[in-house]
Structures are given as C-alpha cells and as structure tokens.
C-alpha cells in the first residue's frame, strides 16, 4: 500500500509513519512518500487521474472542495459513524468539520495549522516595539517603520509559496469586520467590492515602503530564503505556519523568538487556517484497507508521538503539554476555515500566482480585480 503523507518538515513525521508501519506490519507492506507541499494538488490529481493513486493522501480538509466536486474523494462518513461514532468522537469536532461538505466527511484532520508571525524579540526591543497579541495593519506598518529606522533591518519576510496569505488574511479580516465573511466564502461578494481594493493597496504599500524583505525581489523570495534571513537576524518578522513552531524556534538558535498574531486589515482579526489532514481517493484499490491505514495513523498511540514532539494533534485523546504550542493554540481562536479563496481552483490559482504580483508590479486595480471578478462569475456559474 502507498501512504502519501510523510511530513519531513515535522520532527514527528517520520516517527509517526514508522509507528503506523509497525502497527500494521503483519497485514500490509506500506510504502510512505514525502509530501511535496508546493505541488500537492497537482501530485494528488495526477495520481488520481492515472488510475493508480496512493491509498491515502495528505491534504487540507478545508480545501477539499475541488476533489469533492469532481467526486474524487471517498465519503468517510459511514466509517466515522460506525460503532456509535467511535472513530468520529476521537477527533476535535471543529477540526473534523473542516472536511465536511454537504453533510458528508471527505477528510480527517491530523492537527490544527494556521498562519502566524514569528518575531525576533531582540530586534523588536531595539526598535522599541512591543510584541503584540493583536494588531491592526496600521500598527503593523508603524512597527515596521520603527524597525527599519531604528534597528536597520527588514521588518517582514514571507516566502513566495505563502505570499497569498497577505491577501487572504486581509480579505477575511475585512470580511469579518464588515459582516460579509459568509457572503465572501459563498462567492456572493463581487471582486469590485472595496474590500479587495483595500487589501491590494495595503500590500502594495508594504512593498513600496521596502518593509518586505529584500525590498526589490520580495515577490520571488523562496520560503527557505525568508527563513534564512530571519535566522540571520536580517528580518524582524517571519510569516510561517503555526505547526512549524518547534522547527522555527529550534532553527533560530540563539535568537529570542516569540509568536505574534497576524495583523488585521479590518477592525476584527481573522486568519486563514484550519487543519492538515488526510483523505482516501475514490478510486483507491482497497478502500477498507485505506481506512485501516488512516485509523492507525490517527490513533492515540501514533498521535502521541506528534504531541510529544510539540505539535497540536487533532486526536482528542492526546494532550498537548508544550507551552509554546499552547500559546499558539490560543491564537487559533481567530482562525476562519471558510474563505473566498476556496471558491474554486481558478480563484485559488489567481490568488497564488497573480493577484499580488500583478498589482505590485504595475497592473491597474481595474485590470487585476476585473480578472478576479470574471473568475468569480465563471466559478459561480459552474
């Protein structure tokens, strides 16, 4: 059997897979494949289209719509609800519901994950800036100015794979503040709405003021380059996933690292996030065996390894004791799983590749948002 879910970025990743292989060694020979996050959707779709997919795939439950619509994911509801919902009750229900579409479960969660800002406290102290638990975009820009002027380093870094977070978090925060979040997630708000315009202008402001490492070229910086700059003290803030807290803190040897919430463009904070999770392709060879694999991997025994390494597990029978992870968990209150970005693959792709870079590099607002509006209308019609 093939398990496409080995997460090498987590220190627990290989250990969990080894524990699952050990649990099932008498029944199945399990090959595990490392998750290619940057190309995950393509990898999964290629596997499914080939007719010989992996038996289990890693994917974000909140982003499963593309597979659910194409009937490419197995309905896990009967398995979850069997024996009085024994398996279902083992999960954090909020995280489990992220993989629920039209009343059916298509993915199960591994652990919560969302966008946060890691802060170099020493640089903040030098610039006389407090590490905030909550802050608006204006406060974020003020802090960035102080950091640039007083500490002489770049205030903020984000890798190009994560760049869409700037726009997604902005749209969500403004959406929540204006009471339009549900309408946005349902695709009912046109891209000509002032929310999108404000988001684009705010991001361009960050770029034009050279607060975004390394100034010119910020749009093409890789995630590794952004991390390296943060570790080297060239950057005061790094945008990254909450789940990688242990890795980032251990990578930033000697630095005083803290975690801050994402700056909100609206009055209320809202950050993108949800869960890392797993699903079974609808054309998996042996569906019952695939479910057995999932149950083993997400069992309390295996998930304890995840928690012991300092990660927040979705299995409620496993407790998190690490104080850093506990502090990150407090920030998860602002997480919004349903967002405009997930309306359809063409909209996600536009956010990933064009929205920010087109506008920052000189395309007019009407051109950029006009294209987004066209995609929104196409997606709704489909």
């Amino acid at each position: 059997m093939t398990f496409y879910g080995k997460i090498v970025e987590y220190t627990s990743g290989e250990k969990m897979v080894a524990a699952m292989q050990d649990q099932l060694k008498d029944k199945y020979e399990i090959d595990s494949i490392q998750v290619d996050w940057a190309n995950l959707e393509k990898v999964v779709k290629t596997g499914i289209a080939s007719g010989s997919p992996a038996d289990v795939y890693e994917f974000w439950p909140q982003n499963m719509k593309t597979f659910v619509t194409a009937q490419q994911a197995l309905d896990l509801t009967p398995y979850l609800e069997a024996n009085g919902g024994e398996w279902k009750n083992a999960f954090n229900q909020t995280l489990l519901d992220l993989g629920k579409y039209d009343g059916k479960y298509y993915a199960v969660p591994l652990g919560s994950n969302f966008s946060v800002v890691y802060v170099n406290k020493d640089i903040f102290d030098k610039a006389g800036v407090e590490v905030p638990t909550e802050w608006t975009w204006d406060k974020f820009l003020e802090a960035s100015k102080a950091i640039k002027d007083k500490a002489g380093v770049y205030p903020f870094a984000i890798g190009k794979d994560l760049q869409n977070w700037l726009a997604r978090n902005g749209v969500m925060s403004l959406g929540v503040s204006e009471g339009k979040q549900d309408a946005l997630a349902a695709g009912e708000v046109p891209a000509t709405d002032a929310i999108f315009s404000t988001v684009l202008k705010n991001i361009k402001d960050l770029y034009d003021k050279q607060y975004w490492y390394p100034g010119k070229g910020a749009l093409t910086i890789s995630r590794d380059e952004a991390k390296a700059a943060f570790y080297q003290g060239k950057v005061a803030m790094l945008a990254e996933v909450s789940a990688d807290a242990r890795g980032i803190i251990s990578g930033a040897q000697g630095l005083n690292v803290a975690v801050a919430s994402w700056p909100s463009m609206g009055d209320k904070n809202a950050v993108l996030g949800g869960a890392d999770g797993l699903f079974i392709p609808a054309n998996a060879k042996d569906k019952d065996a695939s479910v057995e694999l999932l149950k083993s991997y997400l069992s309390a025994d295996v998930q304890k390894i995840h928690a012991d390494e300092g990660y927040a597990a979705a299995n409620v029978n496993v407790q998190v004791s690490d104080p850093v992870v506990q502090s990150i968990m407090q920030l998860s209150a602002d997480v919004q799983a349903k967002e405009f970005y997930n309306l359809g693959p063409k909209i996600s792709d536009f956010f990933d590749k064009e929205l920010i870079s087109s506008y920052v590099l000189g395309s007019s607002e009407s051109d950029v948002l006009g294209k987004l509006e066209k995609l929104r209308q196409q997606t709704i019609q489909q």
Partner: protein, 303 residues
C-alpha cells in the same frame, strides 16, 4: 562462386530487410508507446471535455476556439516562442563563435576548453535552474554582488521579479546551457574541412575571420541547420528550467505553454483544454522549424 543473378540479389536484399525490421521492432514498439500513441491520444483528448476522472464528452473544436481566445494561453504561447527563438538564436551565435575560437587552439588546451564549454549541456536542468536562481538572488546573488563590486551597483536588479528582465534572465541561462552543443557540432564539422582550403585562403591573404565566414560557414551549414532545429525543439519543451527558476511568475510573466498545460490539467481538471494547448504548441513548433529549415537550407559539398 557467388551467385550474382538479379533474382538472388533481390532475395538477399529481402532477407536483409526482414532482419533489419526484426531488429527495429523493439525500438518501434517503445517509440509507439512513448510517442505515437500518446500523440494520437492527446489529439483525441483535445476534442473532448474531461476532468480526469468522470466520463469524457466530445465537444468538437471548442477547446481550440476557446484557447485561441484565452489571453493566458496566448501570453504563454508568446513566452514559449520568445524563449525558444531567443535561446536558439543566441546559443547558435555564441556556439559558432566558441567553435571558431576553440578550433584555433592546440590539441590539449582545445580538449580542455571543449570539455568545460560542453559541460552545461550535460548538467541536469534542475541543478542549472537552482544555480542561476541563487546567482540572480537580488540581495546575495553573484550577479548583483559583482555589479556592486565593480561600482555598477545602480544596475543591480531583481532579475527574476522585474517584468522587463525575467524572460531575458531565463534566455541567458538557456544560452549558457545550449551553446556548448552547437559549439561541439560545429567544431566536429570543422574538423572535416580539408586543411588545404585554409592554406589556399591564407596564401590568398585571407585572415581567420574571412576564412571562417567564407569557407567554414558555408561548409558547416547542414550541421548548423541540425543544431538550430535540435536547440529549437529542446527550448520549446522548456518546462523544468522555467519551473525551477520562476514557476512561471511573477504574475505569469514567464509562464510557458507546458506550465499552462500542467495547470489546466492538474489544477483546473481541464484535461481536454490542456491537450488542445499541447497541440497548438506542436503546430507552432512545426511551423517555426519548417521556416527555419527553409531559411538555413544549404548546399552539400564534397571535398
């Protein structure tokens, strides 16, 4: 005594043909499965709507008419053609110049330079892409550091972000990679030119430049044509280099048709549309190769 009657010769040729065909069968089967069958499958798919999972639906020419109206497809097609033509043109010019220089070197230093200049052709494209991504890094990259070192810091740029430089930055890498191939082919062809032609030219007072343009260039034209066609085909297929260096960005400003095809098929679940794009690219490649072959058609000389 050998039987030399016409019937026997025909029988002999026939036996040889069957042996030849038998030897070619494995290669034919491999090529059929890896090229001919996928090509026909791709052509059929281009007339269908298919999400990669559910039943396929015949939709006639709709994929073609829509892709020819789609600005994203047209931009990607333009980027593919721009990269292929520029990489080919420049790498052939550079390759020719390198061959001309290397031809003048002694045996040992000639071998050394040929090895060094041919090495990029042998390197994996992913490695080359990564190498140049680091070199183009706006802050720490070798290119900008060198410019700062020589006091030309004002020219330092974000080469892979600037819409005016991103395609040219990829062209430079393509030329670096492919010019060694042209050099090697032209150099090999130059080796076959009789020394007496150069000696006669020298006696007539022609310098090396004149000898190169009046003797070498006309005589190596068939090889030059081969090199151009080969480089064009390789450059048109550019997927890995662009993917590693820019992933088609920023803002799809360097996205080529192969990248657009992958997105259409595996992100948007539009396999038929993707197949139509592939066929349009094939037509563009065939057209440009046939034009190039016509332009570079040279005479064959015997010497």
């Amino acid at each position: 005594m050998m039987n030399s009657s016409p019937d026997a010769r025909i029988r002999g040729r026939s036996a040889v043909s069957w042996t030849g065909i038998a030897f070619l069968l494995p290669a034919l089967a491999f090529i059929s499965f890896s090229i001919f069958i996928p090509t026909v499958w791709n052509l059929l798919l281009s007339f269908q709507q298919w999400d990669g999972f559910k039943d396929r639906k015949w939709i006639g020419l709709r994929n073609y008419t829509e892709s020819l109206k789609d600005p994203d497809v047209l931009h990607s097609l333009y980027h593919s053609i721009f990269l292929a033509v520029m990489i080919t043109l420049l790498s052939v010019i550079v390759g020719l110049a390198l061959a001309a220089f290397v031809f003048r070197l002694g045996r040992k230093e000639g071998s050394f330079y040929r090895l060094v200049l041919f090495m990029p052709v042998m390197l994996p494209v992913a490695i080359i892409g990564l190498l140049f991504t680091f070199m183009y890094n706006p802050e720490m990259g070798l290119v900008n550091q060198f410019l700062r070192l020589i006091g030309a810091g004002a020219l330092a740029d974000a080469w892979l972000e600037n819409p005016d430089t991103v395609l040219w930055a990829i062209v430079v890498v393509g030329v670096w990679r492919m010019s060694g191939l042209t050099m090697m082919l032209i150099f090999a062809a130059m080796q076959n030119i009789p020394q007496s032609l150069f000696e006669s030219a020298r006696l007539e007072g022609a310098g090396y430049a004149r000898q190169f343009f009046s003797i070498v260039l006309p005589l190596v034209k068939p090889i030059l044509q081969l090199s151009v066609v080969f480089t064009l085909v390789m450059s048109f297929k550019t997927y890995d280099l662009v993917f590693v260096m820019t992933e088609g960005g920023p803002a799809n400003l360097s996205k080529t048709i192969p990248l657009q095809m992958i997105d259409s098929a595996f992100t948007f679940n539009e396999f038929g549309y993707s197949a139509a794009m592939g066929f349009l690219l094939t037509l563009a490649v065939m057209l440009i190769i046939s034009l190039t072959s016509r332009l570079l058609r040279g005479e064959s000389y015997e010497y």
